[in-house]
Every structure is written in structure tokens, then in C-alpha cells.
Symmetry: C2
Subunit: 185 residues, 2 copies
Amino acid sequence: MAGEKGFTLWFTGLSGAGKTTISRVLEGHLRERGSKLEILDGDIVRENLSKGLGFSKEDRDTNIRRIAFVADLLSRNGVPVITAAISPYAEIRNEARELMGDRFVEVYVEASVDTCADRDVKGLYAKAFSGEIKEFTGVSDPYEAPENPEFVCHTECETPEESAEKLLAYLEERGFVPAKEAAAA
Amino acid sequence: MAGEKGFTLWFTGLSGAGKTTISRVLEGHLRERGSKLEILDGDIVRENLSKGLGFSKEDRDTNIRRIAFVADLLSRNGVPVITAAISPYAEIRNEARELMGDRFVEVYVEASVDTCADRDVKGLYAKAFSGEIKEFTGVSDPYEAPENPEFVCHTECETPEESAEKLLAYLEERGFVPAKEAAAA
């Protein structure tokens, strides 16, 4: 059965880049293969672990450290995890990498601010540009793109389905997920 | 192998009742049998999930809800968990019970305030009685003992080893942990 090896896919990217969408597609593929998976989505974590925290650098860092703490607890017990929070600061992502070592897979869900603003599914970019929302990553708050991520989802030139399939192939290659034939056998 | 069935041993009891000590002894027994286990100790959780929270009812409730969120994530993926925080309020413990259903095992680590104050391993009761520490459970803050816990550790008349062994036997009986013979086979 898949999912015996714990790992953490640490998604990072702007709001609207596609982190949640790709993680849901990948979840479907993994569940079909009988794998466990937990998705620690930014919104879920804000609600359950970080209510009361704001969007200052300090509060963002605290939020991300909590996600890393939980992702480590799960992945070290053989449970695959996807974290799908913006996680804008490289330093804290690197802390998470040090905590989890080989189990940590940084996935850059790449889309420019312009692309995300064009999509603007939740209408947040409009509010960020008008100043109604402050401290908005990529607009009025920094985003430090990963320099050496293990994997990049090129969302400007591939669909979420394509990104998820390529990521799945990568996980097979790394031995985190058994190849489909093996899983069916 | 043990540990395939997830469950949460929700320890509750005063500071100094023996929650951490008994959980460490039980951890030893479970690891000997090849079981996974995570201990969400009050101090560890305060450091990693709840820094900044105080000891008002509201903050205590938030802290306990976070522990329940993480214990649920782990136990629903087959990872046994012990939570070892005071968790003084019955209402929030019952929320955790509703969240986890059959996986939730409330363990009352029973010791009176007098007993805990006599032990006073960390010197906290002396400070609580002198007023140096405010909002101290059992002294200047309420503790609502469980009315129908699944299990009681009678720490005033049994050693931590005895409590842990009885608890292990209970877990075998419930089918959460395979009997020793089965595990060795």
C-alpha cells in the first residue's frame, strides 16, 4: 500500500497560484492508490492552530512554524502531508526543511503576481491593489521565491491536472509513492 | 505490529498528578511492542502551538482545541497519541470526544490538590499558594474532574508503573493494542 513512507510536500506560492487546487487533484490520485494524506491548507490551519495571529512577519513565521511542527509529527509517522500555505519567507521554509530532512519536498507553485491578479478567484487582489487589504503577499508584502525547490509546478503553462500528474511521477521516482503497477499488484 | 489502530489517550489531571510520568512509562511499553506513539505534552504544545496564549479560560480552551485538532489528525491516520495537558474544563474535553468518537479514551490521572502539593516536584504549588503564580489549576483556577472517564489512574495508591500496566491491559482489552503474545508472534 502506498503511504507507508511519510513525506511532506511543502507547497509555496502566491495566493491564487493554485496550491489548494493542485493539492486536491493530487489527493485524488493518492487516495486512488490507497495512500493516506493530510492537507494542511492555509485557511484550515489559520482556523484551527493560529486564530488570533495576523499577517506581520512575526505572526506569519509563527503560523508557518506551527504548520511545520504538525507536518513533522504526521510525516515522521508515515503519513504523507501537503502543506498549502503561502509561506512567503525562505528562512522559515528552510527551518521546516531542517526539521524534516529527507522527508521535506519543497514544491514551488509558480505564478506571477500579474497572473494571479488576472485569475483573482477570490477577489483578493482587487482589494489588495485598492488598499482595502493590507500586508498582501506579492502586492504589499514580500514573497521570497524558492531558489532550489525540489519541484516546480509551472501553472502558467500547464493545467492543475498536468502539474499534479508530473508531481506524482516525481514522487514515484523518489520512491515516496509506489508506481501504479506496483500499487495495483 | 501494534499501532495500526489510531487512538487518543486523553490524560487529564492536576499539575503534578503524574500525566507526563505515566505517559513516558506507557510509551516504553508501547515502543517495545513496535507501536508508534506521539506524546502531546502540555509544555511541548504550549511551546510549539500556543506560544502567546495565557491561562484565562478562553486561552486554555484555545490551547486544548489545538491539541485536539492535532490528536485527531494523528489518530485518524493510525497513530496512537497521548495528550498530557491539564485540560481542566469538561466542555472542551467533550468537544475532543465528539471530534474523535471511538478513538477517544479519557484517562483521569487522579490525585488531590493536597497530594500534588505534597509532591510539588516543580515547586509550582508553593508559588501558587503564595500568589506568585496566578490562575493555577486546583488552587486559584477551576478543575472539573471527569464524570465518566474511560479509565482512572489512581495515583494515590498505585505507582506510575502500575498505572501504566493497567492502562496497557485496558488498551489490549479494547483491541487498540494487540496482546503481548500476539505482538511477539
